[in-house]
Symmetry: C2
Subunit: 98 residues, 2 copies
DNA sequence: AATATATATCGGCTTTTCTCGATATCCCAA
DNA sequence: TTGGGATATCGAGAAAAGCCGATATATATT
């Protein structure tokens, strides 16, 4: 868990936004028909964020690299969901170390 | 409390370091003779960090701008100390919002 | 008033981040 | 096996951040 890298990942309005959206997938992504077991696919997130596909893809990969989200490939789709374990660790770290 | 700006301020090894040092001023800044009521002065921090005076001055001003430290001018010295209130808020925010 | 010390600000150079369009890859369906 | 849709990667230009040296400002001392 690299503190600096995590804070960098959180230093962007859109990435923070995505993480919040992923807290309530059903509410925030009504277009996605299937359940949200594995999270939300890139296209849905991209559409809601209003940035280009490549940008969102890179943002999600950034979040995944620092462990804030978990990725699941399924056919031609890639689903992203929050990794709550990392959020809990971060909260503890801020309380303890910071 | 601007989340993005706070995370930006925390996205730097040296600034994180400074915040940790300021948790235990007496241990980390034995050179400073007087009490630590108002914190530690810029020169002490600069010396320990090993970056230039201008860089450290700017870093401290960044931390102050987002409310992570409190500044007190006293004569020709400027003392910086942690603003624990903001840290507590941040920890809560991460637990609640993030 | 002149000087010395502590800190802040400015200008600049280098590296990183933001964001895009274009292209490549991967997977499914006909 | 060819085409189409979803995602990833690449290359690039603009903006921001990381640092520095030089200079300005403020305060204290003589």
């Amino acid at each position: 868990m690299d503190q600096v890298e995590i804070f960098k990942a959180l230093s962007n309005k859109t990435r923070l936004q995505i993480l919040e959206w992923l807290k309530q997938p059903a509410q925030n992504f009504p277009e996605q028909p299937d359940g949200f077991k594995d999270g939300v696919c890139v296209g849905q997130i991209q559409q809601k964020a209003g940035l280009t596909q490549s940008t969102i893809s890179e943002y999600l990969s950034t979040l995944q690299r620092v462990g804030l989200v978990i990725v699941t490939r399924k056919g031609q789709w890639t689903y992203y969901k929050r990794n709550e374990k990392t959020f809990a660790e971060l909260s503890n770290l801020i309380k303890a170390t910071l």
